[in-house]
Amino acid sequence: MTRTAPRVTTELLNRVLALPATSEAPTDLHASIAAAIRQTPQRPAPRSSRIAARFGGLPRPAGLAIAALLLLAILASIAAIGAQLLRQRTPLDDSLTFRGDAARTGVVTGPGPGPAMALAFTQTLPGQIVTSPAIVDGVAYMGAVDGRFLALDLSRGLEIWSTDLNVAWSSPSVAGDLVIVGTEDRDLVAVDRDSGNEAWSVPLNAFVSGSPTLVGDRLYVATSSAQSRGRVVAGATGKVMALDLATHSVAWQEDLPGPSTRSIAVDDSILVVPTDVGIAVAFDAATGRELWRFPTQPFTDTPVIADGRAFLAGLDPEGTLGALWAVDLGSGQEVWHHARPSRQTIVAPAVDAVTGMVYAGTVDGDVIALRVDDGTEVWTQHLGAEIGVSPTKAGGVLYVATSAGIVALDAATGQVVGTVLIDGIPSSPAVADGYLVAGTQSGTLYVITGAGVAPVDTPAVTIPSVPGVTPTSTSVLPPVAPLHQVWARTAQDLGLATPFYMNIAPDGRLWIADSTRGRFVILGPDGSVADIWQPTGAAALDLVQPDNDRWGAVAFEPEGGFFVADTDHQRVLRFDSDRELIGSWGSFGPGPGEFVSPFGITVGPDGLVYVVDDSTCRVEVYEASGVYVRTLAGGAEFADRCTNNVIVDRDGNVYLASGGRGDPWRITAFGPDGRVLRRIGEGLLREPVLLARGPNGEIYATDGTDRLHLFSARGDLQASWSGVELELVVIGPEREVYASGPAGVARRYALTPPSQP
């Protein structure tokens, strides 16, 4: 027997989801929590970042390239432990070491998240994450630059333990109950997997930036006498060392032609050691006897061993020498090589000997699939975003970490089958136990599972091109007089229930939307309540609904007509100067003329109406009558990252603030045709950024540091005021500043503009 499905009404949801009034915590819960916190140490307060300006002195392209190179170096240098398992050629569900196994194949036969991958959770660590975790039994072991070394329960997102072990660049490897890693103190350290307690430490007097490599009872590491952070340090030297796992004594060691900051690959009895001077060296694992050398200048990435060959990527940030070589493992002779037309860096590949395929990413955004036997290109997928780390294959899916997100591709065809957007330059993802784990240089750890939340047909990551980006000038500013407060009113003063938005009308009065009461409280220039307007009739029906939050961003036409963003009902209401409702437009949806969350609104000098849909960060442009004109902004760069107000200068250029999730906060200026003109305030602005237009088209922005900045229309910073708590501001015709924020719902300040040179 079937019955009609109940209609999903607000009343039904409220009834089903409501809790009884007396839902109190169980009486024993407090004691349980108290006992737990007595056993839990507090984490120390964060130290200031030592790494922030690492690339600051470099030209941007070089900085990016070196950042990618650095990531590669660090990630590659992390992983050496599963060789004893490799001997058996047994696929692992865990990822015991960097790239999954001691041959660094990047191929795991255990489950990955699959095409329907979705973000499970993120965790922010105090420093950059440039290494890959080892994953065993659903626990990830990893470190962060300037941070800690920790164990994270992936199923619950909870930290199991953390230590002050100074790990930054070495990805750990797991050997039984131990996690082994190189430290910035130039030691090789093993900690207990369960507790994080140090089991042993071997002082090497050199940096191990790669992942320790375990083969049977031998542990192999490559060293650098200086921590190169991916750069070649003049005079730095390197060694390869074999240690006995039980006694930690050195069995043999040999000099390398240069420092090594990436990981060793091992297959059976041969070690292949990369160096930062672009020479890969093969050694007999038992004796340390050198077997051959192969040049891959200028910089050798972590080797991969598969099918009797070593696959060697030569990294080249200048983009003139980048290539990938397949070398016979026994003789060291080249079998084939592949270079991109751009000669850009190809990062260390994943190599699947079973299917006979090599998968690699390039710094200019291609994923390529080549045949193992002859290097023939099978497919290429252009993702457009920089790929600075190695891909990982699990099942039939290839996971690629790009600067815009984690992308899943069908390994057979290269077709994109899933994406998860991330912020920041990622570390090489570790895949195990159905999880994909990747960190970013901005310190966010992304844990991705195949929970099935994301649709299989998620579109490919698209990276918007940004033409004509012009750095903002931040020259020495003229001194300015401080903001002088004229008056301040509180919500209680004004009888406001939910003050939400405000704007200046052409008559100089300040309109404040009291959103839950569906009305506007209108203040005169002296801060007194001049009027209260409660829309009635059709407008009231639109503004006052029983079960939704209400909003009231308002924008005025010069003659006194105005528009109200009715966010909850995905529409814009138009009123004439007599406050009569004379039109409305919009409906729910993602297309032109549709809104998901129309929030910010303004009127341009051309009479066009600009509406920010803050869910998608689109700026939709309409004629005053509601006729759709065009859409600006939107796309991956802005989604979930913009603030919700928009301004238009007197030339019709549009300004939108965005940032967060690892992206710097900045203001993007669009021309009337939607073309990006310039970025403004990058490096200066802090979250969140709200914009206001001055009477002459100048741009004001508040940010999270309680500063008010003044920019010229060209994007030059002209003045900054601080010392006043500011959030939303609007600027009146006399440059008076009306501000709203925690210190008061409405305040007026006098602003003295900077003197012009």
């Binding site: 998901v596 969350s597 919700n644």
Partner: protein, 190 residues
């Protein structure tokens, strides 16, 4: 409980307690737990729907808050910060447990019968049961926003602040959640 009635760190004593706890005083932190546990539990219960899950989330959240407290820069934001931790713990639990779709029995429902108007009490109970089962099949994020909005009565802007996304995203998720719920209910009824 509405947003307006929630506790806020505003009094001198609260600020002092947070500062003391931040400096490592476990007794001060326990006093903060005293005044906030019921609220946190209700929040967790609204999202997770079972006592044991809510207990787990609360315990994990308070322990995490204690551990991370030295890193809280603005003590005045302690409550908002704590709420976010509770919500994050709930979200983690939801995701971890989504693999086993739980069917919440009518007996588990905290709602007493007889409140609603419209459908008869019997129909209302049956509808509620259907909805609760369908809710169990939604994604963690969808359940989260529905629970916060309809169960906790939190405004969209507040939910946005809690889970760290723009208000529009919350609205979008609410919309998607309701559509998904309708689809589940249609399939359930069929």
């Amino acid at each position: 409980m509405t947003a307006d009635s929630r506790i806020a760190v505003g009094s001198t004593s609260d600020v002092t307690l947070v500062e003391q706890a931040r400096a490592g005083d476990a007794t001060a932190f326990e006093r903060l737990v005293d005044t906030r546990l019921d609220r946190a539990y209700r929040l967790a219960l609204a999202i997770l729907r079972t006592d044991w899950d809510a207990r787990d989330a609360c315990q994990d959240a308070f322990v995490a808050a204690w551990r991370e407290l030295p890193r809280l820069r603005d003590v005045a934001r302690f409550d908002a910060w704590l709420d976010r931790i509770v919500v994050n713990q709930c979200r983690t639990l939801l995701r971890a447990r989504r693999a086993r779709v739980r069917e919440i029995s009518i007996e588990e429902s905290p709602q007493s019968p007889g409140q609603p108007t419209g459908p008869s009490p019997v129909e209302a109970l049956a509808d509620g049961d259907l909805v609760r089962r369908a809710l169990g099949r939604l994604s963690a994020d969808q359940r989260l926003v529905l629970a916060l909005h309809h169960g906790e009565g939190r405004a969209v802007a507040e939910i946005a602040s809690l889970i760290g996304v723009p208000p529009g995203t919350v609205m979008w998720r609410l919309y998607r959640a309701r559509r998904a719920l309708e689809k589940e209910l249609r399939e359930e009824s069929a």
